[in-house]
């Protein structure tokens, strides 16, 4: 009940079709905790994040359910109010730092804009805050970076900037959608470590989208496993790794490379498991149409 983000029974369809891309999703993120969201490509992980942030593509429409942010249902608000509410308490760390910064605006403004325009800070306070955050994400010479344009920075630097921008407004919730997949492997580890440290320091609740269970074990306390838009398992991370319940989760865990034995992994998920979870999704769909 005291979850900062609570998604209840959320279903979404592609416009013009009847097939659901989100199937009665229930998901909660408590204040200060990190929830991992895993699933194979196309399962709908990004869709959930976009639904929360109000940036679903126009082809997708929500047909039922609630998204409660700090107890208030976003879906019941008019668009302007919803955007403002989201911008005030939530933030996004995007996947691709190369495309997530506006090429024609200076870095500084892209960090301070929300503070000034949405939260009503003074320019001076916002600049000071931006410098402080750039320092926190270990950017050398933050003054100079503030005055630069995105093309003058490396990918890793840009992701640090985006992380600084996300934390600058003191959000209660951060949604990170595969924040390291677009980066070099060496940079990935640094950025992941940085996000974990920043989250711990600021005590921000986080929904962490990834398809890497190894990352989940390092960053998250809770975990939702998504298959074809349906949450098939919702557990504490420690319990999940000790004893996954759902057959699909077990198969997923078995398919995850282990650092002790990297070659024993890379098994495809068993076809029988896929068949059974597909049957489960179909059954849920039949039931859904009846209500």
């Amino acid at each position: 009940m005291n979850a900062f983000l609570a998604i209840r029974n959320l279903s979404a369809i592609l416009r013009g079709g009847s097939q659901r891309v989100l199937r009665s999703v229930d998901l909660a993120v408590e204040a200060g905790e990190v929830r991992g969201l895993v699933g194979e490509s196309g399962a709908g992980k990004s869709m959930i994040g976009k639904a929360v942030l109000g940036i679903l593509p126009s082809a997708v429409s929500i047909v039922e359910g609630e998204i409660l942010l700090d107890g208030r249902n976003l879906l019941a608000m008019p668009q302007k109010e919803r955007r403002r509410t989201i911008g005030t308490v939530a933030a996004l760390i995007p996947q691709d730092p190369l495309t997530a910064l506006n090429p024609s605006r200076r870095i500084g403004r892209q960090i301070t804009d929300r503070l000034v325009d949405i939260l009503g800070w003074t320019e001076a306070n916002a600049s000071a805050r931006a410098l402080e955050l750039l320092d926190e994400v270990q950017i050398q010479n933050p003054q100079r970076v503030m005055a630069s344009y995105p093309h003058e920075l490396s990918g890793g630097m840009r992701q640090r900037v985006l992380i600084a921008a996300a934390f600058a407004a003191n959000p209660k919730l951060i949604i990170a959608d595969e924040p390291t997949t677009a980066l070099d492997v060496t940079v990935q580890k640094q950025i992941l470590k940085l996000i974990r440290e920043m989250q711990a320091r600021h005590g921000t609740a986080m929904l962490f989208v990834t398809h890497d269970l190894g990352v989940v074990s390092k960053v998250c306390q809770k975990l939702s496993v998504l298959y074809s838009g349906k949450v098939v398992e919702d557990r504490a991370v420690s319990e999940f790794f000790a004893e996954p319940r759902h057959a699909y989760s077990k198969a997923l865990l078995a398919a995850t490379p282990k650092y002790t034995d990297p070659f024993a992994s890379l098994l495809p998920v068993d076809e029988a498991v896929i068949a059974s979870v597909d049957a489960e999704v179909k059954a849920a769909d039949r039931e859904w149409r009846h209500v």
Binding site: L53, G54, I55, P57, S58, Q79, K80, R83, R84, T85, I86, G87, T88, A90, A91, L92, P94, Q95, D96, T99, A100, L101, N102, P103, S104, R105, D113, R114, D117, I118, Y149, H151, E152
Partner: protein, 336 residues
């Protein structure tokens, strides 16, 4: 260093372009039939009179010879004497140029305002009837040329609802305190808003006729560019920051969508300036274009050459200006 070099290269290209235009026009207008001297003299003038006057204007020499004489004059700042008006060409041309400049710039401003606003509206209300209506309007604007718009406007606002003037640059009764030919500019400087308003009422319809096709082009391209940015990550990120869709379009999409449109406006603006020739004629607007038609009718060779040279200079300057603005607005070029 590279900047200086590219600037010098630019200036050299401009000089070559102007020279080329001068050569082509010089020879073409001498090859087409029609004798300027015969046009000037009363009917029944004797052969000797014609020969004498032809010799006076140097028209009895060979064409390459005439060209060399003309070019030597131009290099010394002498553009010859108008045959029909019997005055030096350059003061005549420079006296008319401001009227055409003011008309063209006014038309450009109208085109950018209409085109820009409709592109923004079409983007904000994308997928609705408003966008469909804008698309239709752009299609019509594009497929009807400026001189037909002029006729439509004359019928509409000159005859049916006579709220604008359809002829001239300013009311003939007006007492003019101006010392330059930049009437609109000077009327503002002198705070003579009565004259300013009178000028605008004369300029509005020719300017609008010139502006409509350009407005449609601007609207179409800018809307397309804006649309392409709507799904980009940085635009989506701005939405999550709490901004309204209006703000997102204006401050995230527009600065990036404007660049391709700007280049196009530069090219199209030269067409617009070319269009003033016919439009000024239709509205009896006393500009360079109107003078050009008179010059052609009278076979006034020196005057035609002078006007063409000034038009060509205008075109090359517009292109230079566009390239400079583009470099200034694009941060990637600015820092290169």
């Amino acid at each position: 260093m590279t900047l200086l070099r590219s600037l010098l290269l630019r200036l050299a290209t401009m000089a070559v372009t102007l020279f080329g235009a001068a050569v082509v026009v010089f020879f073409v207008i001498r090859v087409v039939p029609g004798n300027p001297i015969a046009m000037m003299l009363p009917p029944g003038a004797s052969e000797t009179d014609i020969a004498r006057l032809s010799a006076h204007y140097g028209l009895d020499r060979s064409i390459p010879e005439q060209f060399l004489i003309w070019l030597t004059g131009v290099i010394h700042g002498d553009f010859g004497t108008s045959i029909s008006l019997r005055q030096p060409v350059m003061p005549l041309v420079l006296g008319r140029l401001p009227a055409t400049l003011e008309l063209s710039i006014f038309a450009l401003v109208i085109a950018v305002i209409i085109g820009g606003a409709s592109a923004l509206a079409g983007t904000l209300w994308r997928g609705t009837k408003t966008e469909a209506a804008i698309d239709v309007a752009n299609g019509v604007g594009l497929s009807v040329p400026d001189f037909l718009w002029a006729l439509v406007l004359i019928l509409l606002f000159g005859v049916l609802m006579p709220i604008f003037h359809i002829s001239g640059r300013i009311s003939p009764s007006a007492e003019l305190p101006f010392v330059t030919q930049f009437y609109v500019f000077e009327s503002i400087v002198r705070l003579r808003f009565d004259l300013w308003w009178d000028l605008l009422k004369h300029m509005f319809m020719p300017a609008l006729a010139l502006a409509i096709p350009l407005a449609a082009i601007v609207s179409q391209l800018l809307k397309q560019s804006l649309k392409e940015t709507m799904h980009l990550d940085y635009v989506v990120l701005a939405r999550t920051k709490g901004y309204s869709e209006n703000h997102v379009i204006l401050s995230e999409s527009l600065p990036n969508a404007v660049l391709p449109t700007l280049t196009l406006i530069g090219v199209q603006f030269t067409f617009l300036v070319g269009g003033t020739v016919i439009i000024e004629r239709l509205f009896s607007y006393e500009g360079l274009g109107n003078m050009a038609i008179d010059a052609v009718i009278n076979r006034d060779l020196p005057l035609i050459q002078g006007i063409v040279l000034v038009f060509a200079l205008m075109f090359t300057l517009i292109n230079l200006l566009v390239d400079m603005t583009y470099a200034l607005l694009n941060p990637r070029l600015r820092h290169a």
